[in-house]
């Protein structure tokens, strides 16, 4: 690995902790980001010559803080300086700095940084964009490519989101246990949003990269909160779902359902990590929605062949999940397990009451059509598939349904012949 690659990896890994600490010092997001940026530029100059510092994160915080303080002084913004005890120590001693920073603050610094991206007033897309920009450090260009919008539009979206959180009060006091739990839950939900944004991408590789980014954020959160079963569950869920990425689309870019996937393409390393985490989480006996979803994904991952899948256990887990999340989407997913266990008629009876609430949901009509097709009710199946195509989110989803329609047309032709 070249020096530059190594430095880039170190800087990327250090970013959430460093920007989080700088945000605590300066209490201003733009100042913190600019300070980190400056520190990175100096690292690119200094590290290849002097070798990497013993603690890259502490180095970046110290250098970034000093650079920003110089900048503030030059601008004559004396009143913007943080309290004396913070600026009194400006020596370049990396070691004492590292010791002072050691661990204790990072947890809440990183959590705060993630939490400000989850402001309830921010729509999901802005939360994701903000997290990718601030926490992950992706460039506006990279994020714009992932969302298929122009760079200018994304720049504007992020600026608007930042303005909104600047007006809101960023909580700087060290959170109590209840606040911390609330922040963790909000941050977990936001990380899951980032993942889903990548997961729903079909052939857009810039967007598929968001899955890896979400996993990185989840691992980071778990490093900081090692005993939280729901964070283990979230990380396991993302790993187990992402493990199937290479098998989810065929050579033509069309969706391959889990039963038809080539399990040899599943990523064994990600599965091993996911299974290890769900095992750890379950020991705590504090179930939650991420753990349950991860347990479902684990049952799929553990089945060597589709017919080995433990559908009864999956059905039971979905029933448990329904108690946590009263969502028609959960019931719809449960119906897939019910169809395997008790047949398509039972599954259809389960999802029909959801019609009104899922009237705009692609997967509802896709599932309904598939069940009707299995029951030989071709005309109704066709109608459901037509609705699904109208609601498809990606070309791959539409193509998948069109294959069902083609099959119905072929069967119809052979019957009438």
């Amino acid at each position: 690995m070249t020096d530059i690659t190594w430095i880039r990896a170190s800087v990327t890994a250090a970013r959430p902790r460093a920007v989080g600490a700088l945000l605590r010092y300066f209490r201003d997001l733009d100042t913190a980001e600019e300070a980190f940026q400056e520190a990175c530029l100096r690292a690119l100059k200094s590290w290849p010559q002097n070798g990497p510092p013993r603690d890259p994160t502490a180095w970046l915080i110290l250098v970034g803080r000093n650079a920003a303080l110089d900048g503030l002084r030059r601008q004559g913004k004396q009143e913007a300086l943080p309290p004396d005890e913070v600026i009194s120590d400006l020596d370049d001693a990396e070691v004492p700095m590292a010791e002072r920073l050691d661990g204790s603050h990072y947890r809440d610094d990183v959590l705060r940084l993630l939490f400000i991206c989850c402001h309830p007033e921010l729509p999901d897309t802005q939360q994701i964009a903000l997290a990718l920009r601030i926490v992950s450090g992706l460039s506006v260009k990279q994020i714009a490519r992932a969302f298929l919008v122009s760079e200018a539009a994304m720049e504007q979206r992020i600026t608007r989101a930042k303005a909104r959180i600047a007006r809101a009060d960023i909580p700087f006091e060290t959170p109590g246990a209840a606040d911390r739990a609330e922040r963790l839950a909000a941050v977990a939900a936001m990380i899951y949003l980032v993942f889903n944004e990548g997961y729903s991408a079909d052939d857009n590789s810039a967007r598929a990269h968001l899955c890896e980014e979400a996993i990185r954020l989840a691992r980071l959160l778990l490093r900081l909160f090692q005993t939280e079963p729901e964070i283990m569950g979230l990380t396991a869920l993302l790993l187990l779902q992402h493990a199937r990425a290479a098998a989810r689309l065929d050579a033509e870019g069309e969706i391959v359902l889990i039963e038809d996937q080539d399990r040899g393409l599943w990523d064994g390393k990600l599965i091993a990590e996911g299974l290890a985490l769900i095992d750890k989480a379950m020991r705590h006996r504090q179930p939650g929605p991420y753990q349950i979803q991860a347990a479902i994904a684990a049952l799929h991952a553990r089945a060597a062949r589709p017919e080995d899948t433990d559908w009864a256990e999956i059905d039971a887990l979905y029933a448990a999940l329904e108690r946590w999340q009263r969502s028609p989407v959960v019931t719809l997913n449960r119906a897939a397990a019910v169809a395997k266990l008790r047949g398509p008629a039972a599954a259809l009876a389960m999802i029909e009451p959801l019609a009104e609430r899922l009237a705009g949901y692609f997967y509802f009509f896709g599932a309904k059509g598939a069940l009707l097709m299995q029951l030989g009710r071709a005309n109704e199946a066709r109608a459901a598939f037509d609705q699904a195509i109208a609601l498809a989110n990606t070309p791959a989803e539409a193509a998948h349904i069109r294959r069902h329609l083609d099959r119905l047309a072929r069967e119809n032709a052979s019957v009438s012949r």
Binding site: M1, P56, K280
Partner: protein
């Protein structure tokens, strides 16, 4: 004489590598390992999952306490190890240097083996 080479690095950095970066490092390490295999010096080696997947049994309590996470919270974590069959420390260090050239950053702790059992699973 059997030596272990314990691989320490900042796992936040290592697990931040992209798939391509990871594959590039692994390819370079494999080249070093292949030479060791040919020379008949390569014992077992393994790469560990991140410490977030670790559980520790604290034996200071009775009964021992099971806690989440690695034994020690350190800046660099044990990420894997090699067992190599060498004449002595100098040769073990030479191998560690070769590995270091293929995978910079972190540290290799070189330590002699006291008790060695090969893989004893049936059929392994």
């Amino acid at each position: 004489m059997l030596y272990t080479i314990l691989c320490y690095n900042d796992e936040d950095v290592v697990w931040s590598w992209s798939k391509e970066e990871d594959a590039a490092v692994m390819a370079r390490l494999t080249a070093v390992q292949d030479r060791l295999v040919k020379a008949g010096k390569m014992g077992p080696s393994l790469r560990l999952l991140p410490t977030t997947a670790a559980t520790t049994l604290r034996k200071t309590e009775d009964p021992p306490l099971v806690i989440d996470g690695p034994f020690a919270e350190t800046k660099e974590q044990l990420l894997g190890f090699y067992v190599v069959d060498v004449a002595g420390l100098d040769e073990a260090l030479d191998i560690a240097r070769e590995l270091a050239a293929a995978n910079p950053g972190g540290a290799y702790e070189v330590r002699p083996v006291a008790v060695y059992h090969p893989d004893r699973r049936a059929g392994a």
